[in-house]
């Protein structure tokens, strides 16, 4: 006789509550990529923030990893409809990196090694919502998942969380990134199912 434990039903209820509209839960970690995986060594890695006035703030690997870090556990929502719960990362909050950056910009264009870009409002990178992540699940981030370092901005669809992050340009006007410029939504809130332009 089949008995469904209260624990199992509890998990199912919790899963549906955490799943944005149109998404399904996956337990593996699909690899999505618009191009070949760049192989960047930590020695050559650099991350730079450039403001609307052209001021440049750069960190090498040693400088980044010497900064105070967070260990966020977050749910990921990909616009291709998979969601993955409770992923554990280590990284430096953009609040820390942008603390010394003077800007009046409202928009950010994130760029990656390999040429990928994504765009979002600057305020979505602040207030504990975004990190430059360099650890995943207690280890280095594998190259296919964006290592050595990637942007992590989990409250928006995961295409915003640029792999192999190399820099952020702060802009006074929105400049669409790689997918925002070809039909995908400028903002990309999974809870409002903002997949495509006009959603």
């Amino acid at each position: 006789m089949g008995v469904v434990s209260p624990g199992f039903r509890g998990r199912a209820r919790e899963s549906s509550r955490r799943l944005p509209p149109g998404q399904y839960e996956t337990h593996d970690f699909p690899v999505l990529s618009a191009g070949p995986t760049p192989r960047i060594t930590r020695d050559e890695w650099e991350f730079a923030v450039t403001t609307e006035t052209g001021a440049r703030h750069a960190w090498n690997w040693a400088e980044l990893t010497a900064l105070p870090s967070d260990s966020p556990t977050v749910d990921l929502h990909c616009v291709t409809k998979w969601s993955k719960f409770d992923t554990s990362w280590q990284g430096v909050s953009l609040d820390v990196l942008l603390a010394e950056v003077e800007t009046a910009a409202d928009f950010a264009l994130v760029s990656s090694y390999g040429g990928y870009t994504s765009s979002l409002p600057l305020e979505d990178l602040l207030d504990g919502q975004a990190w430059i992540a360099y650890g995943y699940d207690g280890d280095d981030i594998p190259p296919e998942h964006g290592g050595p370092a990637r942007l992590l901005v989990p409250h928006l669809y995961f295409w915003k969380s640029a792999k192999w992050v190399h820099g952020i340009q702060l802009l006074t006007e929105d400049e669409p990134g790689f997918w925002e410029g070809l039909g995908y939504h400028d903002y990309g809130d999974p809870w409002r199912e903002q997949r495509y332009q006009g959603d």
Binding site: P30, V31, L32, S33, A34, G35, P36, T37, R39, V79, T80, G115, W159, W179, G181, L182, G183, Y184, R195, Y196
Partner: protein, 93 residues
Amino acid sequence: MDYQPDSDEHQDGNALAGPLSEIFAVDLTSALGRCASCGVTEPVARLHVYTRAPGLVGRCPHCGHVALRVVRSPDTAWLDLCGTAALRIPLTS
């Protein structure tokens, strides 16, 4: 750009045949496309097509630049050809 493709990561341009047949009356995979970046002309079927992504990304097999992108939503197709300088399309006379 130093293009280092890994053949596990992409398919050839024939992966574009179905999606493009929704938009064009002719089979574009046999068309010759000139890369806007390096200038080399190749059949669209030779592009390196990255399909595990929010859209299809066709890259020049020589320099890796994006030659073509297609995004398909439930009711719209978006096509970006700005990385292709010219397309030579064979037609029956």
